[in-house]
Amino acid sequence: MTEALADEPAVPATGSETIVDICDLSIAFGDAEPTVNGVSFTVRAGETAALIGESGSGKTLLAKSLLGLLPKGAHIVRGDVQLLNQRVSSLSSNEHRQLRGRQLGIVLQEPLTSLNPALTVGSQLIEAQELHLGISREQAFESARAMLIRVGVDEAESRLRQHPHEFSGGMRQRIMIAAMALLRPRLLIADEPTTAVDAVLQRSVMTLLAEITTEIDASLLLVSHDLGVVLEAADTVHVMQRGRLVESGSAERTLGRPRHAYTRQLLESLPRKRSPVSVAMDRSSSKQYLCATGLAVSFPGRRLLPWRKPAPVPALRPTDIHVGPGEVLSVVGESGSGKTTLGRALTGLTPVSEGQLRLEGREIGSDRANRKNELVSQLQFVFQDPFSSLNPRWTVADIIAEPLIHMGVNPSTTESRVVLAMKDCGLEARYASRFPHELSGGQRQRVGIARALVVEPSIVVADEPVSALDLTVQAQILALMGRLQRDRGFSLIFISHDLAVVESLTDRVAVMREGRIVEEGTGSDVFDHASHPYTQSLLDASPVLGEHSDGEFSLEARRYTPRAIPQDFQPAVLNRHAAGTGLRYLPLTETHRVLVGKATASSRGDRTTASGFSSRMPLSSD
């Protein structure tokens, strides 16, 4: 067994009490190789400890073992855990159960599925209080109300009587935190608390967790793959790789001066700030290759009553966008912003309800089925989900060859082009006869990219191609896409929910919210001069990692200087010009435009405000 690189002691011994002491713990499924292998660390009172690792590192399993809630088939093979000086192995399952909630709490990753849909929020906040604190129903209700207000849910009294589906994901996350905080456990485990939350809300969730744990005097064990979150919040850090603890220490030391190669690799995989000398600025010229005018998509709404006409639900409001030859355009926005719909509409996968699409100035139909083969092969798509986008019954070679077969390319040419595409995408030849389920997520995504590139398209739309992947794999795939794009010179439309991810890759950025582009410009326009409040909140939510010449890392806040909105374009003035909602695109520079106008509060109750929209003033570059 290799010893983890650890500082001794992990935190300055201030005589604080040890809450959890994990000693040489190994957990395995059946007789298989242990999934958690000889892990030791401690969490002290009041401390925020972070457990970092990628999927398969065993971090979640370890966290569940503290609660005594290991999944079926998993068991502790070796070692022990001491919870508040009680050895877990000596506890009966009933004694361990009584520690849950009372001494140990957990906040789960997925807020949408972690509350019982059939019970009111109130009863779910009350049940464990009655059990653990021995208080009356009325008292429990009263403290639930107070706690709900504390975590930021308004009108707590009436909302306690509502069911979970009546709350947004962010609210449900807060309710979950409240449910645990009410029991005042000594240790709160947060399992990937920010993964399912939109970028702009991540910080508020972390702040709440930090405040609550301080208020109830609990330690926090943060289980996460997100180094950005960990860097800001943790006192101590424990890095796990394939079941083993590879490095432990204070957050400052471990992440500032990593000793283990894996920790360093993780840090280096973080999205970087664009190097000042950006790639080929001339690419983002005014030349338009693929150009959409007034492109809009709406889906049929639900018919509530038979005689009522269903109102169409707009997914993409009329949008102008273009991409130049060999240019990388990033489309960034959170779920529901319309970014994926835009990408699909550009490729012809989703029927367009209005607007025009032009390729090299010639209008092309928006229905893919009616397009000619050459046109189809010019526009390719890389899917987000590397699992369901590959036919489970076909081999890798079959999958990559598929577009060529539809084009009627002869078999020998097909074979050589498949071999070439695999090589270009970093897939060894021996994978040709494998099936998708035999590959890792990263390899699968490489297959997806190879399939898109085998027909040598001139435009590739990539829909969140890395969001389902681990950090280190994500960096590899991003690097691969960047290299292929430079070598082959296709235009790339890169769709992402994470602004930081696209920074190193992109020439231009379009930020979307609620079906509209709210800001668009070159990388430098958007990253250095973010002018729309929404873009700014996205940037604020993603600090950058700075790497210093001596090999040390540090976390830095984003710096940007918004461009001033000229006086005559103030909303008040605009409203006089534009009928209706008074919203327009304001060209800040030749390449930079931003949506301005009367700010309307978002319907979903998030903090940022979004702009409404009626008329468009396209970027006048043609």
Partner: protein, 275 residues
């Protein structure tokens, strides 16, 4: 382990009945319709494994003879229902639009009645005959088949690899033949087993009521119906045919469960919900 064990038991039971039914066409220990008035209502013995009935006919031979008819009628009904329903449902889902709506309306009308009731109504109009029984049984099951194959194609259409083929320039016929149909086979074969089990039960109920395959042909249900008068004196007349039906249906159900577990669990659970 238990699951595969159940599958093995199920498959063996199915195989046993298939063999017995086929074999009975060539040979039965006694002539199933030959009366022997000197050997009436004999209890099971070495000579008559399952005893004899009120006319001295060998019950074992009659059960074997009935197996062939009961299994064949049920099998043909399932087969016809699948043949009719599966392509219709798949095509409805694939085409969508008016055709899809029309098919849905049709299935809804049929599914507004309990299956046995519909079969009884059809038989009351046509009168009992082998063909009428088969037609009634398959017509009553077609809507379920349509629903399952339609749902399977609908969910497959949402799969990204089907979209990916679309991006790659796949034609409509390629999508239907190479991508959608092969992936429908799993839910449909699971459905076929559960349908088969249900139809055997309905068919024997029909025969029991005297509305199924017309006499003198023995069927499992008819054997049980005949046994009713002799419950007190010759209980074996009820015990054996009933046990035979139960074993056959248990076999098919166990086999179907194993099939469902072995095939894609998600698609199979969909078939289960709809059947």
């Amino acid at each position: 382990m238990t699951r595969s064990f159940g599958g093995i038991v199920g498959a063996s039971l199915c195989g046993l009945w298939l063999f017995a039914a086929t074999w009975s066409l060539i040979h039965t220990p006694y002539d199933p319709v030959a009366m022997a008035l000197d050997a009436r209502l004999e209890p099971p013995s070495e000579r008559h494994w399952m005893g004899t009935d009120q006319y001295g006919r060998d019950l074992f031979s009659r059960v074997l003879d009935a197996s062939a008819v009961s299994l064949l009628v049920s099998f043909v009904s399932v087969f016809a229902a699948m043949l009719l329903g599966a392509p219709m449902g798949a095509f409805a889902a694939y085409r969508g639009g008016k055709f899809d709506k029309l098919v849905l309306i049709g299935t809804e009308a049929v599914m507004a009645f309990p299956a046995l009731l519909l079969v009884l109504l059809l038989l009351s109009v046509t009168g009992p005959s082998n063909i009428a029984v088969i037609i009634a049984l398959s017509l009553a099951s077609v809507p379920t088949v349509i629903r399952v194959s339609r749902a399977a194609v609908l969910s497959l259409k949402e799969q990204q690899f089907v979209e990916a083929a679309w991006v790659a320039g796949a034609s409509r016929s390629f999508t239907l033949m190479r991508l959608l149909l092969p992936n429908c086979i799993s839910p449909l074969s699971v459905l076929a087993t559960s349908l088969f089990a249900a139809i055997i039960l309905i068919e024997s109920a029909l025969s029991f009521l005297g509305l199924g395959v017309p006499p003198p042909q023995a069927t499992w249900g008819a054997l049980l119906a005949d046994s009713r008068q002799y419950l007190a004196v010759a209980p074996w007349l009820s015990l054996y045919p009933g046990a035979v039906i139960t074993l056959a249906v248990v076999g098919i159900n166990l086999f179907g469960d194993a099939l469902r577990d072995a095939l894609d669990p998600r698609l199979a659970s969909m078939a289960k919900e709809l059947s």
